[in-house]
Subunit: 727 residues, 2 copies
Amino acid sequence: MFDCTFQLQQADVVVTGSIKPEEIPVSWIKPQTTVVNCSHGFLSGNLGFGEHRLKNSAQAPNEAVGPLAIALRMQNIVKNSVQWLQAQQYRNWNLRCLKLQPQTPVPSDIEISRGQSPKAIDVLAKEIGLHADEIEIYGQTKAKVRLSLLERLKDQPDGKYVLVAGITPTPLGEGKSTVAVGLVQALTAHLKVNSFACLRQPSQGPTFGVKGGAAGGGYAQVIPMEEFNLHLTGDIHAITAANNLLAAAIDARILHENTQSDKALYNRLVPLVNGVREFSAIQLARLKRLGINKSDPSSLTAEEISKFVRLDIEPSTITWQRVVDTNDRYLRKITIGQASTEKGFSRQAQFDIAVASEIMAVLALTSSLADMKERLGRMVVANDKNGQPVTAEDLGVTGALAVLMKDAIKPTLMQTLEGTPVFVHAGPFANIAHGNSSVLADKIALKLVGKDGFVVTEAGFGADIGMEKFFNIKCRASGLVPSVVVLVATVRALKMHGGGPNVSFCAFLVKQMINTCNNLQLVSDGCCNLQKQIQIAQLFGIPVVVVLNVFKTDSPAEIDLVCTIAKQSGAFDAVPCSHWSAGGKGAVDLSHAVRKAANQQNNFRYLYELELPIVDKIRTIAQKVYGAQDVELSPGALSQIGRYSHQGFDKLPICMAKTHLSLSHQPERKGVPTGFILPISDVRASIGAGFIYPLVGTMSTMPGLPTRPCFYDIDLDPDTEQVKGLF
Amino acid sequence: MFDCTFQLQQADVVVTGSIKPEEIPVSWIKPQTTVVNCSHGFLSGNLGFGEHRLKNSAQAPNEAVGPLAIALRMQNIVKNSVQWLQAQQYRNWNLRCLKLQPQTPVPSDIEISRGQSPKAIDVLAKEIGLHADEIEIYGQTKAKVRLSLLERLKDQPDGKYVLVAGITPTPLGEGKSTVAVGLVQALTAHLKVNSFACLRQPSQGPTFGVKGGAAGGGYAQVIPMEEFNLHLTGDIHAITAANNLLAAAIDARILHENTQSDKALYNRLVPLVNGVREFSAIQLARLKRLGINKSDPSSLTAEEISKFVRLDIEPSTITWQRVVDTNDRYLRKITIGQASTEKGFSRQAQFDIAVASEIMAVLALTSSLADMKERLGRMVVANDKNGQPVTAEDLGVTGALAVLMKDAIKPTLMQTLEGTPVFVHAGPFANIAHGNSSVLADKIALKLVGKDGFVVTEAGFGADIGMEKFFNIKCRASGLVPSVVVLVATVRALKMHGGGPNVSFCAFLVKQMINTCNNLQLVSDGCCNLQKQIQIAQLFGIPVVVVLNVFKTDSPAEIDLVCTIAKQSGAFDAVPCSHWSAGGKGAVDLSHAVRKAANQQNNFRYLYELELPIVDKIRTIAQKVYGAQDVELSPGALSQIGRYSHQGFDKLPICMAKTHLSLSHQPERKGVPTGFILPISDVRASIGAGFIYPLVGTMSTMPGLPTRPCFYDIDLDPDTEQVKGLF
């Protein structure tokens, strides 16, 4: 027996592990084992080597071990103990923030981004308590975070969960991402409170089309902004690959079924390899679903073979479209299969932009690798000729899709301009999907910030759409309870709602004109929209902090007026913000207000029960959230609802595909429209993601390139390797 | 003045740098600067601070510097000196190889790959002399290598350059990648000679379609094989994004020109922003090409505006196609632009598989970021209505394409099963493109291995195609001179050439039958193909080592016969190899033969001069390489040649798009066909990549999915995160 305490140099604490004698392999021990004796630290224990072991080893002197091997083994134990200890302890991050020196006028986003030297991402990861083996580094400034973290931290309490939503926006957007980033910069760099921003990954299409970039802006952004806006860690590319493999599988299957007999199909699907014929795992699962409980390929009857080999997809019911991450308007409607090799089985189809893929929504809502695989398999791509749903699993492609998505499921860690942590993960459409970043990123971030910390995430579009979906779809999927809603308003949007002219990309001058005229009446009238959006948040029982994203053209009187009206309308607090021009410092007031609001009583509730019929769920949202008088469903919509109910898909939440430019379905109706009947033209379903999406009007799922796309200004300096022209 | 020597702890050597007094900023110096005195090492020098500087600093006591700052600066100098020193020194790598314990029977590729624990990629990078700031890590097992390395090592002599080519193959392939990997495993893990394998990145399409994987095989492969075969570091995704942005730009431009007046186009292309109208850099370049030497947008005449705003693309001449990295046969021929938003301007088009994109060929042939940008801009996408070429540069998209490709240009470092280094970079088609991995990877590897080391790369298809293009296109682009050709043969392919039945995926049983019958006559007759391919290599003046990739069914007599005939036919040496079942150990004989051959006299020469007319270049290849009697060009081919000559593209090398299954254009003609007339059905051009490609018959650029695709067997274990079913 001997006592032994080891000190792990790298750790702050000294820990002693213990090893049971029976765990020590014989090959470890040699007679001259040295007794090491030291005592340190606040934890201690014994390493006991039984006398009989030492005797044992004397019989096999060649299989011996010295103090070094024992030390290595002990070091391992100590390392595990330290990890365990860290997992149990909440600690305030000791994070080195990056200093800002804001300039006036504010330079372009890319210039600001390039002016800051980001920390090496492994340094940031360590600062926030991630272990080296929990991250996968992609270059100097990005890292994927492994999901194993959730298991390690499962007993850690969650931080506070803050949603940034907005009033009904102008087409220019009112700065929700910027607020989210500014808020965490304020919380962590200025208040020294742990916080994380969880943002959506932008589509690359608009980056080269009309938009130019989406990493926040000014002195509240994610850096390096060109990494954020380009390939990032390849998640959208993985979605594209998975989506298109499934699409190719559908058409190839139809062609093969159309051109082969049952027997030929069977011989190819279950081939004789080295004299043996076997079902693959995914084929056995299909047999089971078909009620054929056989595993020997030679035992199927002709009828069973026919059932097994034919999916009998009805081409006119195919809802699965191909995708590209490019603004390519010529792919909005196409005819495919026109080569002679496809033997005349051509059909009309379309490409969507990659982020419109259901796989993006699956990624955003999934809770684990196993859950993602199940969701991918459940995705319905068409109906068969009997009206039954055909899934990815039926096509045998579930495993391949999961393989293509195995890295995309890990959130990507980046940093803000002030060196605080950000997760970028998933970016589904906000109309045909739910428009929120991933559940997994939020869950991991909530553990990492610890009980006194904050996770700030963002919902697409106005609160009537993005926030409603955040609560009813995302929070329902995750089980997480939000603490505060931050509602973003701008004077320019309020003026529009108060009766001022529309703001748009083409009306740059008009916009400047409105901004420069101090028109309190327009602002006051426009606050009706702000008031309505506050009321919507209150439907869910969550306190609201209104933040006015200040532009240099806003007058003090306008700012005061908005804050006063907001508080009168039920907001917990209302504060102006200047993070765009000042960084986190400009959002310190907001961060104080959010901290106070997070300590309020929380009565979170969903708006509707899943058990309600689909039509009633739609009507509830239309009336309570949008303020519609009623809904009106087209015959097509009603028939789809009937089909989904028949297929057992009626217990899913609803994801309304509606314009974000008005509370109603008519983009030109600003303020708070009333008395309208919301028309539902069609109803579709994302069964893998887990929602039904009614279409209020037509939704474009493929943007186009303008006459002068952004790419005219985008360039790469071959000497410095610097990207120019992203903004 | 004071003398100062610094020791850099991390380095093996002690180096002293010097700093000139005039380089020292005033802000550095303070009066109490400490004199540090020490002497070490084999190099020494002085750091002299002039007296006047010290005086100077006394006048500005606040702008001062202490010993620490000087030490930091000196450390920097020392670091640079160490780097410089390392760059000048050739050294044998001190590389920890991974041990193999080959099993019988040989397990599946994925099982072998998973059974080995790869080294952390940063460890391998350090072992082969890369600095930490020269790599960008992607996860644990992949890293991109920065091109700055080429500058650092520019004075280092190159290693030996070895090409692995093959005889005319069966559709199953004869194992060129496996030989390339086995050879470097032998050289580095067994002979302790520096070596690098440079391989192509496989397309993801076939991985899920018919092929399953392409990382070598058995005990000679790149690990982890699932990383190699899936997204890798995203290069093919980047190519897809760039390719499709250009495609979208073409159609959007045609639509905008068709629906807008000159004035409207001009107002949009050169808009008034904040009261100012300016040309972008790429627009100024276009004006210059048009001969309009103006930079003030208001000074253009109506005629100049019209010339500037209209590319006048003739839709029927568009050669630029969209791509996906999926086997999607339904996209072989499609009609695009059928949505009402495209106003009837629909047209017929196609998708190719991503690796068929000209951008892949550009990536493979480029020598730097600046060169890549130029090549991307030069790519011709169509003709205008006057028959003039329209380029990517004309569309204003060059910079954006370069931005999308900025990371893809860096080769990806991985490792073999024995822990030796591999570059994976670029994978162009071997028919419509040149089928070789990148010039940049080869160049960097040749520097890293040093003068006594070896770089082994591979050419697609048989030597008549891949090797011919390697010499005439790739070596011409790079200026590199190869040392040895390793020509891979198999008994099974030789039997086919000798008159045995065809080997194919469907003829698995036939294959086994041939392999098991010891038929020396068939083998001997089939060696005519081997002899011909040796002679082709000799046309270029390079010594040939024949390697027989041994299968367990090959008899000793067959093996001896092939080696004897090979040597009689002019090969420098001929050896059997068993790396597939034994790892590098099985290729030790080959590695000795290659080392000897590399010391042979080298008379490398190209097959034709670029100055020859296009038709003569085609005829030279057809007659001298394929053994054709003559060529016959279709009227379409002749007219294209006329057009390219007129456009000034006739001085480019030729990239024949021909079947790889025969020396002739008829896949069923095995052995050495003679007396045939090679028909050229069409001639196309990849101007950015830099070659003209005549089509010998139709080439499929989009594979399809079979009835039972590989993905039926591919799965992901959600608990272990392990990929199953890749083979």
